[in-house]
């Protein structure tokens, strides 16, 4: 077995190893967590309510049995892998008996939709501006936009989001500031629903874009300023090729290739959700789910989300490794 199949096998092996190590690590960290889901459920159930201490003890036993938290940590670990391989993360402990998978699956479209869109906008805009700024170094407009991007870069996401929320939700209340879509609107491909989705997604997406654009901008600008001195760019300039074409086909195109790996990684991490943004805008995505899971000590849920996220990043890296040769004609696998 040679060449591609062998490469594929090696890469696949590594892929599984990464997932195995990552998920196992998370499993044991979660197990070390002092948060006890039984106690969490109990305190939810007894909060505000009458509590007979004997009854609480009885409930505690019943819940521990129900949640399947018995057995040694190693037995739980084996059982966990057994379930994961079947694509099942078991029941959520804070939303018992709803399966974690179905919680994730209902949150996932929101997160993936919002984050993918925001990421693509961020990536495109950041790279475009970065490339333009790297190529047309003297353009005032670009310098200005560069300065804005640079100033935004270090501002924490929470602040950017809060300011947007204040400006567009309060001072000029033109956009909804909470939730994923209008209330009581049937989800579907209707114009109203799509418009509602866009309206509700605008502020969170804008937050993500403003926060994320800086790093793409900076890295693209430095990539481009290296490429403009490459022979083939100089040659094209000597050949009288128009500067627009040089920019797009000779400079940006080459500089984009390394950025694609970054894009893939970011796309993979989409599955982890955007914790702060979703938290702030009450967006019903995976990030919010994760925070809820952590607050409620629901480690089935936390494990589920982190596992999904680890797998997604690993898959994204794997895929980009596989398709990179198709994107970059130079790459040959040794």
């Amino acid at each position: 077995m040679d060449g591609f199949p062998k490469y594929l096998l090696r890469r696949l092996l590594q892929f599984f190893l990464v997932i195995f190590l990552g998920v196992s690590g998370t499993f044991f960290i979660t197990k070390l967590s002092p948060v006890d889901p039984v106690e969490q459920s109990l305190s939810l159930m007894t909060n505000f309510g009458a509590t007979d201490p004997r009854a609480v003890e009885l409930m505690r036993q019943a819940l521990a049995e129900l949640y399947g938290l018995q057995g040694s940590i190693f037995e739980q670990y084996l059982a966990f892998w057994g379930r994961v391989l079947r694509g099942d993360f078991g029941p959520s402990l804070s939303s018992f008996p709803t399966p974690v998978m179905s919680l994730i699956m209902s949150a996932l479209p929101w997160t993936v939709g919002l984050l993918t869109l925001a990421l693509i906008i961020t990536w495109t805009l950041g790279n475009l501006l970065g490339a333009l700024a790297g190529y047309y170094r003297t353009n005032t407009l670009l310098k200005l936009s560069g300065a804005v991007v640079m100033a935004l870069h270090p501002v924490p996401a929470y602040i950017v989001g809060l300011v947007l929320l204040l400006v567009f939700g309060f001072i000029f209340p033109v956009l909804p500031i909470s939730g994923g879509a209008q209330m009581n609107l049937q989800p579907g491909l209707s114009l109203d629903y799509i418009r509602s989705l866009i309206q509700h997604g605008t502020l969170p997406a804008l937050t993500l874009v403003l926060v994320g654009i800086g790093s793409w901008f900076i890295s693209m600008r430095s990539l481009v300023s290296n490429i403009v001195t490459d022979d083939h760019v100089v040659y094209a300039e000597l050949g009288g090729v128009s500067s627009g074409k040089i920019f797009s086909q000779y400079v940006a195109r080459n500089a984009l290739l390394p950025q694609l790996t970054g894009l893939a990684l970011s796309l993979g991490s989409v599955f982890g959700g955007a914790v702060i943004t979703e938290f702030l805008y009450n967006y019903p995505g995976v990030g919010r789910l994760l925070i809820q899971g952590i607050y409620r000590g629901d480690y089935s849920l936390v494990l589920g989300v982190t596992t999904m996220s680890i797998v997604a990043v690993a898959v994204a890296v794997f895929i980009i490794d596989l398709i990179y040769p198709l994107i970059d004609p130079r790459v040959r696998l040794g």
Partner: protein, 285 residues
């Protein structure tokens, strides 16, 4: 060292601006050691005072002077950020250079670890670690944890630089000149890796501070310790933005942006200075 500083100050306007900004903010942060009131003290001043001659940057709803809070907060936040950055740079450099230089099995093992770390979602892991450690989760421990999560992508960058250096003739030459692996890495390769380190350090610092703020906003930080995240946390607890106490949040953010601007200008100008190409030009090659 002094000569470098003098050269940069004299001939590089970006460095000068960056240097002045950073120094100013550093001195400002340093000043908290001489603050008139302890940074943790609350309700010793009238709350919610807007910026005025008496309270230049106003007071918080907790009766603290924003100016002095900020001074301590920037100090603590930068201490955290720089600890994360330096630790994670050390890791990234060690792993990246060894992996790139040694190649083969070592490369595979290190890069598998690296790829695993890349795939780990930072925030959940940090929160989980925070739960596990709880009271013993002091800021240095948090910084170490963050550093453990923040080196991997840059290690790959450094590895790719080292990988290309490994195949340069001067590396093979160094081997035949009897130089040991550490000698080759430190003397021969490090100057080429330095610009990558500097460049990624900026992003890492921003990431670390973002992390601090995120954890604080979610309520997972030591609320006794004034930090930028801590200020946002408390401002948030008092709904400061909605209540119109904008100075509580705006000034720290402006300070952070200025600080980053300063650091960024420093980084790019120092980077230009230490970049082998620029060094060679100065040396007259």
């Amino acid at each position: 060292m002094f000569k470098i500083l003098r050269d940069l100050l004299r001939y590089n306007i970006e460095f000068t601006i960056g240097f002045v900004l950073t120094l100013a903010i550093f001195l400002f942060a340093l000043a908290h050691f001489w603050a008139p009131l302890p940074a943790e003290a609350i309700y010793l001043l009238p709350p919610d005072m807007p910026p005025s001659a008496q309270y230049w940057l106003g007071t918080t709803s907790r009766g603290q002077d924003v100016l002095w809070q900020m001074s301590a907060a920037i100090w603590n936040t930068m201490l955290f950020g720089l600890t994360v950055t330096i630790l994670s740079r050390l890791l990234a450099v060690a792993v990246g250079m060894l992996s790139g230089y040694l190649g083969g099995k070592w490369d595979q093992i290190l890069m598998t670890i690296n790829d695993t770390m890349i795939a780990l979602p930072n925030i959940p892991i940090l929160l989980l670690v925070y739960f596990v450690m709880r009271d013993s989760m002091s800021w240095p421990v948090l910084a170490a944890t963050a550093a453990l999560l923040g080196w991997n992508y840059d290690a790959r960058l450094i590895r790719s630089v080292t990988l290309s250096l490994r195949n340069r003739e001067f590396t093979r030459h160094a081997v035949f000149a009897g130089m040991s692996v550490p000698q080759i890495l430190m003397r021969q390769h490090l100057p080429y890796v330095m610009p990558v380190i500097f460049f990624t350090a900026m992003n890492n610092l921003i990431w670390a501070i973002g992390l601090e703020v995120t954890l604080s906003v979610l309520g997972f930080s030591d609320i006794n310790r004034p930090t930028i995240g801590g200020m946002i946390y408390w401002a948030n607890q008092h709904q400061a933005i909605i209540a119109g106490i904008w100075w509580w949040i705006a000034f720290p953010i402006i300070a952070i942006v200025l600080l980053f601007l300063g650091l960024f200008l420093l980084a790019i100008s120092v980077n230009e200075y230490i970049d082998p190409r620029s060094r060679l030009s100065r040396m007259g090659a």
